[in-house]
Amino acid sequence: MSEQAPANPNWARILLIGRNPAWTAVRIAILVIVTIVVSKFVLIPIRVEGVSMLPTYRQGKINFVNALVYRSHEPQRGDVISIRMAGMRVMLLKRVVGLPGEVIAFRNGQLWIDGSPVPEPYVKFPCNWQMDPEQIGPDEFYVVGDNRSMPQSDHTQGLAKRKRIVGKVLL
C-alpha cells in the first residue's frame, strides 16, 4: 500500500485568498462593513486644514473624531472638538474654552471666565485679543482655536450649539 504525497500547496495563492476563498470573501465583506460603520459613526477620520489650531494641530495632519464620547458626558473645557457645518464632510476643529452658563471675556489675550483668569497652556503664541464679557447660553459652548497670534477678526470663534458638536478629537 502506498500513500500519495500531498501536492505542494501554492503559498502565494493561500496568502492572497486563504485556504478557503469563500470564507476569505465573507471575512473581507465583514471587514469592509465594520470599517464603513466605524468610520462613519464611531471614529470619523479627518484631515486638518488651515492654521487656526497651530501649533497643536498642523496643516495636513490626519486625526480621528470620537463621535461617541459625548454620549456619556458633556464637552469639558480644554477639549478639542469637531463642529459640523451643513454636513460632516467639512467640519470646524476648535477648543472648548467656555461652558454653558458661564461669562467669557478676553483681556489682553488672557481668557477670563466668570471674572477670573483661566490659564491656557496650549496657547503658545503671543496674543492681544480683547473681547467684552459675553454670556454663554444654556445649550452653547464657546469655542476658539489655539493660534491666537492671528488677528481676532480673521479667526473663526464663537458659540457652538450643542447639537452641532460631533465629537472629541482623539489624538
Binding site: E49, M85, R89, L92, E140, A160
Partner: protein
C-alpha cells in the same frame, strides 16, 4: 431549476433597467437640485487663464441658474454685509469677481436638500469650500439656498451665508 434562476436574473436586470430609465426621464427633484448646485460650483470656478469671452459666457451661464428676482445676502467676517438683488446684479458681481481674482475653485462637499410641500420649492443647506488660486487656505462657509421651480427649472431664489458659530 436552472432556467428559473436565469429568468429571475433577467427579470431583475429588466427591473433595474426600467428603474434607471425612469430616473432618467422623471428625475427626483432632490437629485435635480443637487445637480444644479454642482453646476453652480463648476460655473463659479475659473482659472487665471480664462479668456475674456469665456469669462462673460460662464458668468452668464452662472446667472442663468438664479431667478430674475434673486436675492443673495453675503456676510463678510461678521463685519460687513452685501446684498445682490436681481439677476443683472449677480451677473455684474460674477464678471467683477472673475476680473479681480486670479483663479478660483469652488466646491460644495456637503449638500442637504429639503423639499417643501407641493415640491415647487426647496431649501438646500450647503457647505461651500473655495480656494483662491495661489492661496494656501480654503474659504469655508455655510450657506442656505432657497430654490423655486420656474418653467420646469429649479432656480435659486434666495441665498444667504449662515454663521456656524454664533
Amino acid at each position: 431549476m436552472k432556467q428559473w434562476i436565469v429568468r429571475a436574473v433577467l427579470l431583475g436586470a429588466l427591473a433595474a433597467l426600467g428603474y434607471w430609465l425612469w430616473t432618467i426621464f422623471f428625475p427626483n427633484p432632490e437629485k435635480v437640485i443637487r445637480n444644479r448646485i454642482q453646476e453652480v460650483a463648476r460655473l463659479a470656478s475659473f482659472s487665471s487663464n480664462e479668456g475674456a469671452l469665456a469669462k462673460l459666457s460662464n458668468a452668464q451661464k452662472l446667472s442663468s441658474c438664479v431667478a430674475d428676482n434673486v436675492e443673495i445676502q453675503v456676510e463678510f467676517q461678521r463685519h460687513s454685509e452685501r446684498i445682490f438683488s436681481g439677476r443683472d446684479d449677480v451677473l455684474q458681481a460674477c464678471v467683477a469677481a472673475r476680473n479681480l481674482a486670479g483663479g478660483l475653485t469652488v466646491e460644495f462637499p456637503d449638500v442637504v436638500v429639503t423639499l417643501h410641500p407641493g415640491k415647487e420649492s426647496a431649501t438646500a443647506e450647503v457647505t461651500l469650500r473655495a480656494q483662491i488660486q495661489g492661496e494656501r487656505d480654503y474659504i469655508v462657509q455655510e450657506l442656505k439656498i432657497e430654490f423655486v421651480k420656474i418653467g420646469g427649472e429649479w432656480l435659486i431664489r434666495r441665498a444667504e451665508t449662515v454663521r456656524t458659530l454664533q
